[in-house]
Symmetry: C2
Subunit: 562 residues, 2 copies
């Protein structure tokens, strides 16, 4: 840094496509710091090294950064100081010129613009962008992954790629452009009706896409690097979304011929069509069968005195999902966490010497499957035996919050941030809260996290639309003790109209009973009890015909009304 006259180096936590989960080649933050959380950026100055990450990873970051000299900077907290503000106000408040080195491939244009504008007029900011910056010092850096490409039939996804491209072309024309550069991998997969497995848990194909008036040019595999040449060729006025565009590509684009704006693909992709919805229902039925087999196995194994640890449980669950036709892997790394492990919302289950499951207290299991016909994401918190009063209160109040959101009805136009408090109020009233969002969008055989909608304490104006899928996953985390999270996926649906407007509500897609052993019934009101009993009954009726008799009988017992 000194020899190059760099004041700061930023190591971004993303890949050239702004993916939430980068392939190993781009796990630069982990390589530099040892931190394995799914969100984090590192800034190094001559006298400071810091990792910025959010509430989900505070405990994990503190542990993984220990002894590294890297300081944790907390984000998504009320007094957060983000990287742009930290650099401009804390690191270099008076400096006339600041040189910041980045790997332009791993930084979004919008982030760099924000960074620049954080500095006042009195400071000149020079961004030194070095693509693949770490290549020079990261000896065994993995290559860009190459996996088989899966083409999905139109009947599987409900809309042909041609129709999607036609729709996008009419958007491009409306914007007065001739072409569009698409960088977001899930948008490319959706547009082309293709999937891959370039990134673990994410059925994506690492690539760029250019749609022109006549052509669909897909830069992937051996042609991946051709994008650098392609963008300098004449594509007329080109539309690009700065939120998924990397800074390196941006600097190469002729400024006079690009139009920056939000991609319309994310929103259209988020609104599932009838084929996708029906398939997602199927996926949740199959997934629910695997879940119930897993929960039955877990309970009987422990009852029989068998030793089961967190890792073994997680392997068993993946095996059961693996038996489903069309299974394409898990949708993220299973969080299999007994007791104190559950207090880390994004706990990583150790492969060796994992904590044993014991017949008391709570076991939290957050998992999901990728199937050729849908994506699932479910969390169950299971009382493995006697629970403390606090465990039962936490269990019940989180369920109360979950149920309240699941029962919500709201007018068209309502955004997730406007109903997030519905899930939180039962916790808030007892001084409880959780540091993550209540809900995220979920893709169709695509990312388990997708936008643009969410349900959280932000000010995201995106309305919830019929056809969108969101998770409903409030939680409580008590460091050193236990964690509780109850998660189902919800489908946003039309719910009729009245003289006061048009209404939406949720259909719960996930099919797996909630254990009633840890419930303190007096903390639920009649509506909530009815919802719970109805849901468990629906789970039993839907799943039992396809379960082995022994498990069906067990499920009958587990779903007795409270």
């Amino acid at each position: 840094m000194r020899s190059n006259n760099w004041d700061a180096v930023i190591i971004g936590g993303s890949d050239p496509h702004s993916s939430e989960y980068p392939a190993p080649r781009w796990k630069q933050v982990e390589w530099v710091s040892g931190f394995t959380g799914e969100a984090g950026d590192i800034v190094i100055t001559l006298d400071h090294a810091g990792l910025w990450t959010d509430t989900r990873y505070f405990i994990q970051a503190n542990r993984q950064l220990e002894g590294s000299g890297i300081v944790l900077h907390k984000t998504r907290v009320p007094d957060q100081i983000l990287i742009p503000q930290w650099l401009s106000e804390n690191a270099f408040p008076e400096k006339e010129s600041v040189n910041i080195a980045i790997d332009g491939l791993c930084q979004r244009v919008s982030d760099i613009e924000e960074l620049k504008s954080a500095f006042g007029e009195d400071t000149t900011v020079r961004i030194v962008s070095i693509p693949d910056m770490l290549d020079a010092i990261w000896q065994d850096r993995p290559a860009v992954p190459v996996t088989p490409i899966i083409e999905l039939a139109d009947e599987q996804v409900g809309e042909s790629s041609d129709d999607k491209i036609d729709w996008l072309r009419s958007f491009i024309r409306k914007k007065g452009c001739n072409s569009m550069l698409v960088c977001a991998l899930d948008e490319i997969a959706w547009l082309l009706n293709v999937r891959g497995s370039d990134i673990e848990y994410n059925p994506l194909v690492i690539s760029y896409l250019i749609i022109t008036e006549e052509e669909v040019r897909w830069y992937t595999r051996e042609s991946y690097d051709d994008i650098y040449v392609a963008i300098s060729e004449n594509c007329g006025k080109m539309y690009v979304d700065p939120d998924s565009l990397n800074y390196h590509i941006y600097t190469m684009l002729p400024k006079e011929s690009i139009v920056l704006g939000p991609s319309p693909v994310a929103l259209r992709k988020a609104v599932k069509n009838e084929v996708e919805i029906e398939s997602m229902r199927d996926a949740h039925l199959e997934d629910g069968l695997a879940m119930e087999k897993f929960l039955f196995w877990l309970e009987t194994s422990l009852e029989n005195g068998e030793q089961v640890d967190e890792w073994e449980a997680s392997v068993k669950l993946s095996e059961l999902r693996g038996e489903i036709q069309g299974y394409a892997g898990d949708s993220f790394e299973t969080i299999s966490a007994y007791g104190p492990g559950g207090a880390l919302p994004h706990y990583i289950t150790p492969k060796t010497n994992a904590p044993k499951l014991i017949r008391r207290g709570l076991y939290l299991c957050d998992s999901g499957g990728q199937y050729s016909f849908g994506t699932t994401d479910i969390t169950r918190t299971i009382p493995l035996g006697p629970c403390t009063r606090m465990e039962m209160e936490d269990y019940t109040l989180v369920l109360k919050g979950h149920i309240n959101l699941a029962m919500a009805v709201f007018p068209k136009g309502t955004a997730g941030c406007q109903i997030d408090a519905i899930a939180r109020m039962p916790l808030w009233k007892t001084g409880r809260n959780f540091g993550h969002g209540t809900g995220h969008g979920v893709g169709f055989f695509l990312g388990v996290h997708e936008g643009p909608q969410d349900i959280r304490q932000n000010f995201n104006r995106q309305a919830l639309l019929p056809g969108m899928i969101v998770s409903d996953e409030p939680g409580i985390y008590r460091e050193g003790l236990h964690g509780v999270r109850h998660e189902n996926l919800l489908l946003c649906k039309e719910a009729g109209s009245s003289e006061f407007g048009e209404w939406l509500d949720f259909e719960t897609l996930t099919l797996c009973h909630f254990d009633t052993d840890a419930i303190l019934k007096e903390l639920l009101n009649n509506d909530e009890i009815k919802w719970l009993n109805d849901y468990n009954e629906r789970v039993f009726r839907t799943l039992s015909p396809r379960l082995p008799a022994e498990i069906a009988l067990w499920l009958r017992d587990k779903t007795e009304p409270i």
Copy 2:
């Protein structure tokens, strides 16, 4: 318009200080159109005349505009087209240059900037600003009002004007400025600890204020117009809030020496100090006594077969408030509305031939007082006799929403828009809703509406802070039938901390029982019933010692637990 080559004229609904309620001199929209709603702007082009107003006034506007040729344009609806967009896209989509005439005194800078930016690069927009434009054609236009100025003692408001000015000067210095121009009348009143009665219901003094490093220059009464000279004098770098600055003054300010930014006064004023809070509690006690006397009078008068109409009831209530020491008028025009009148959220009670109150159905009364020691705002919906099932459902569900918000607990940092749904969900679940906000800020012997906080379906990021006062006023309006609104004022308060954060909740300031006759108990859960019974009991215990025995006994009966 033709002779001046004007393409459009905008008649703004505000005064030179962006006041929500203008003095008669600036009721230009009413003079032009006959529309008397509290919010509205008129645009006239050569082939169209339109009034833009929000959900609160649709019914009223339709009636008042009948036969005028002026078309209602609805705002605060999902598909709203606001004036800038309407002018740029609907009226003059292709025009190369557009001349728009305004009275610059009655248009905010921010509105005009928005208007200009709505037009694309291909259109040249010329704003022709003519101060007091209507003087030429409005013969008997009222003058700028002049009323006695009331100076409040430091003990009455808890903070001296000198201290407030010192605080503001340190803000001005932090912004790198030497002076500040304050145009908002409530900010001026708060800073100087003065009140007036220049505007009905609003204890304000029409004036401008310039704070320099050494001086406090107040332009009011005979010196009001001196502001035009003053702003051209050297005040160094001057800070101005564009949201309360009128366009005429703005055009006169030397651009190189002004800094535009939000005024910090509104937020500080909204957070009441201990003296203000204690006085507001007193004001609500006194106001509650007047309300209970009113409700007793109303019930007994009707029982005795006396004829009471809406207007007489409203006069009686003002008289009862008038008996309170320190009463300085009502805080807005009482909405005294029987049956169908209640369906208009901002019904104007006719002074003559007002509808009679009949001993069946619902009577809605929304009123408030200005006292030297506080401001109140309360709505009660009173069953005057037998009610229909629908009236009782509406009554109970609105109360359910009201109670849920009153019981809310939330973490520090929460904004009103994040908890608005708490009050609405009981309505939404039954297909009901209301078109106005759930809550607005309330001043201390100042405007009954004040920012920056509110509780509504917007994306206002202003957190609710301890010391802020907000209304809690959900409603249901059924055109031609009835309206229900239940409104108390709430004080936002600290509610302790836990390992999960710091908590806030509400103290209900308003003291007046909710009638239980129209309640369908089965629609309330146990927590809600307990809140209601506790509240009514608190009202009885607090007020009864100061009520005549006969009314105290009546109130004992009215507050029997359900």
